[in-house]
């Protein structure tokens, strides 16, 4: 476990850069991680996904899987993959301040 400064705040992260305490997350941190992950700006469509992940993640304790997101947030698969290109599973979870999704679908 180590700490990292993101958007001017010091947060706990694991070796892959995922926040280990979801309560340390805020919207500025999300935007800063998104930039690191190759998404220069978070739009309302991105936030629809992130807000859903935060809601599910804080309640269940783990990040939703991609299928949970498409079904639960009502975001089609195609759109999810174009909003978070090249590996949405980890990207969405990381930007949402949650751990890696636990589940295969």
């Amino acid at each position: 476990m180590s700490t990292k400064e993101i958007a001017g705040k010091t947060v706990d992260v694991n070796e892959e850069g995922f926040l280990t305490n979801p309560n340390e997350w805020d919207k500025d941190i999300a935007a800063a991680i998104a930039v690191e992950e190759g998404i220069p700006e978070l739009t309302a469509d991105h936030w629809q996904v992130i807000d859903y992940c935060r809601e599910v993640g804080l309640e269940s304790g783990s990040a939703p899987t991609l299928r949970n997101i498409t079904q639960g947030a009502g975001v089609p698969t195609k759109q999810l993959f174009s909003l978070f290109p090249k590996g949405p599973a980890k990207k969405v979870a990381k930007i949402s301040g949650l751990g890696k999704p636990e589940g295969c679908v």
Binding site: T77, F81, K86, G87, A89, K90
Partner: protein, 167 residues
């Protein structure tokens, strides 16, 4: 990031319900992790993409040494489903129903929906030309999302640098 993206290709040669899922599960995981996915369907594997067959895939209990009575909810440890029982009419349908119910409970999508998810996420699906010719099929017999019917040589060309998994 000038390095080339990681690529993985699956060759699906089986149409049994238990054997069609590995490529779907791993393919979806690969796409979720930003890996390019190509799937080549050959021989019985073409059942996965045939409009007529995709919703009717089954698992047979005959000669399946891993299928034990405990899967039917009977706690008998290592006792298998006897082959002689497996040949009774309806046993394949019964085993299939057990597996489908179990998967429904775990919210695992059916094959058709899984393939749609993969295609929407960017996977490329191809049918094997030799198998298509053997089974007297044409492109219209396949579900939407199958890009083309290609030769083994085409497949080799399009998967250069990819990790290949044969199922």
């Amino acid at each position: 990031m000038s390095e080339e993206n990681r690529k993985i290709a699956f060759i699906c040669s089986k149409g049994d319900l238990d054997m069609v899922y590995p490529a779907l599960v791993m393919g979806w995981a690969a796409l979720g992790n930003g890996i390019d996915v190509t799937i080549f369907f050959t021989f019985w594997g073409m059942d996965m993409i045939r409009e007529l067959r995709v919703d009717h895939l089954e698992i047979a209990p005959v000669a399946n040494t891993s299928m034990k009575m405990s899967m039917m909810g009977v706690d008998t440890g290592n006792l298998g489903i006897p082959n002689i029982m497996g040949i009774l009419p309806g046993m394949t349908a019964f085993a299939t129903k057990l597996m489908k119910d179990k998967m429904d409970g775990l919210e695992i999508p059916p094959v058709r929906e899984y393939l749609e998810m993969l295609v929407d996420a960017g996977a490329e699906l191809y049918a094997c030309k030799m198998s298509v010719d053997m089974f007297d099929l044409k492109k219209d017999d396949f579900i939407e999302g199958v890009i083309d019917i290609v030769t083994a040589g085409d497949f080799m060309d399009m998967t250069e640098g990819a990790q290949i998994v044969f199922i």
